[in-house]
Subunit: 339 residues, 2 copies
């Protein structure tokens, strides 16, 4: 076999034939010992805990570049999907992984990404049990896109939804905002800042489980594309409530703030991949905050505002100078291909 | 808003902000009344029948062109995934749908594809309950890629696997082979044949359910990429058995045979999207065949061979002229982007 054959993904790796089987055996199977994946049947057959509901979600990942400070597309593809499960209070159990590969991708890159997915899945407590690989000709995709879908287990009686925010509830965020988006941007644009920017990409079910144990949580959401501002607008609209946020209480790293100023961006609209926004019962807010701060992914957690029964469907920011301004949902495109 | 804004997908439609919400509301939500999708939470929360196992599978679809005789990428994305569930005996219940869209795709195309997915999902008895839309810049993808993942319900005691073929078992195929691949090829290459070629793209759980009622089925597989020959090789390898196929018994449409001859292709290696290969207990083969022929998607079903305890791991074709030749797994790439 030629040098090229061993080093790069070829169209024939997507044929469904011999090379497809070789690629799966070489790159993906070494990272999974789950019997359902190893069986290589058309679908994985899996056990679910009894007496539960199923949570099901999907996201595609098209981040560019594939590798960035604090993560890569594989880590992102696991975190993003297990986090979406965690946001409805589900324990993530199983993931699928679909790869769309541009012909010519170095197999070493694919191996590095598969290893990163496996390590992140292990940390998140999920198994990648089914997958698919497609290869498209050079120029028909940009290196690699990954889709993951996730299945999780929702305990009986658990009900979290963006529809359940109530006036009087407290709004928390689990840490600094804008880290992921600015880390990817800095890598992409070759920007150099005095302090390194790093993605916050992390699996959040462990943090969420601690929060659920600590008190009454009504809604959770991870502020990814569109950032904190867009997520808050979604909750305000879904629950038909107003939200008031104190600008000075929203944690933002100095490096992120500096990079945002340089690029004319607002950190409240920049994507996060390891943060959760929580709407919780007022009487439990302090306990939930303490539980968040005790967790490695919630050390910078803060109470940032409250749910109000005025300006329904809208989010109002109380600024550092004491003014008030409407915090709209993101309009237009701020940072393409950030996740 | 500009003409372009209304007609084509823009990068901002993938922002997660206002335009993303508008696109989902305009194109996707009108086709689904499932409460879990309408809730627009991060994950769908779903009921599962009690006392069952879960089947879970995924595929990405990169077929080119998006529309072809007998189907389109949306119909394909539903059929391919519900069929993978059916192949382990699972009743398909829920689908996720992830769209990766190249900037500039006409929104009318997306609407047509969403409508096709909805109609196919209805026929297949599944609900699309969760989804995701990403937009990449012009030149970073080829119009549209779709990933679907599927969740199904496996009745207690059901066990179908490519590992369960046993010497003496009978091999059936549910109809003519090569239709899908040649329909896409003819569209792509602008070939004109005397008889129209049409994809066999169809959801197969209904057919499979009839087969399971009729007798003892050991293994099912849908012969997609790599075609019938590759699928048979997979079963031979997984079960460590030999397979003997009678070439004259394999149904092939005259138009497909003609197109294959013109292009130098072997229909046994051409993709199908509405066919099932079954390995069944010999004593039930006639009953299962009758059940298949009574179903609209199995009218041309045929017994094509048997499982043997010689040449383990290999598939042998008994040719029309009485010779025998080894039927290998597909090597190289025959038809890129066929599904």
């Amino acid at each position: 076999m030629s040098q090229q054959h061993d080093d790069q993904v070829l169209l024939a790796h997507g044929s469904g034939g011999v090379l497809s089987h070789e690629l799966v055996a070489r790159v993906f199977l070494p990272h999974s010992r789950h019997a359902a994946l190893a069986a290589l049947d058309d679908a994985a057959v899996l056990e679910l805990p009894p007496g539960s509901q199923l949570a099901f979600t999907t996201d595609s990942y098209v981040v560019q570049p594939l590798f960035f400070p604090g993560g890569d597309i594989g880590k992102l593809a696991v975190c993003g999907t297990v986090n979406d499960l965690a946001m409805v209070g589900a324990r993530p159990l199983y993931l699928s992984a679909g790869f769309i590969i541009e012909e010519g991708l170095p197999i070493a890159d694919l191996e590095r990404i598969a290893a990163s997915m496996a390590a992140t899945a292990q940390e998140a407590g999920v198994h990648i049990v089914t997958g698919d690989t497609k290869v498209v000709d050079h120029g028909s995709a940009d290196k690699l896109f990954i889709n993951t879908a996730g299945v999780g287990w929702v305990p009986t009686g658990m009900r979290l939804s963006g529809h359940l925010a109530r006036p009087g509830d407290i709004v928390l965020v689990s840490g600094t905002v804008g880290d992921h988006g600015m880390a990817v941007m800095s890598q992409r644009e070759g920007l150099r800042f005095s302090t390194a920017l790093e993605s916050d990409c992390a699996p959040l079910y462990g943090l969420v489980a601690e929060m659920l144990r600590a008190g009454e949580v009504h809604a959770l959401r991870d502020p990814t594309r569109g950032g904190l501002a867009t997520t808050l607008n979604e909750i305000a609209a879904q629950s038909d409530v107003g939200i008031e946020i104190e600008e000075t209480r929203v944690p933002v790293r100095a490096a992120v703030r500096g990079a945002c100023e340089m690029l004319g961006l607002d950190p409240l609209y920049v994507a996060n991949e390891g943060k959760v926004v929580a709407v919780v019962a007022a009487e439990d807010a302090a306990r939930i905050l303490a539980a968040m701060r005790a967790h490695r992914y919630g050390r910078d957690a803060a109470i940032i505002g409250q749910i109000v029964d005025v300006h329904r469907g809208r989010v109002v920011l109380r600024t550092a100078l004491g003014g008030r301004r409407l915090l709209d949902m993101l309009t237009g495109e701020q940072l393409p291909r950030i996740c």
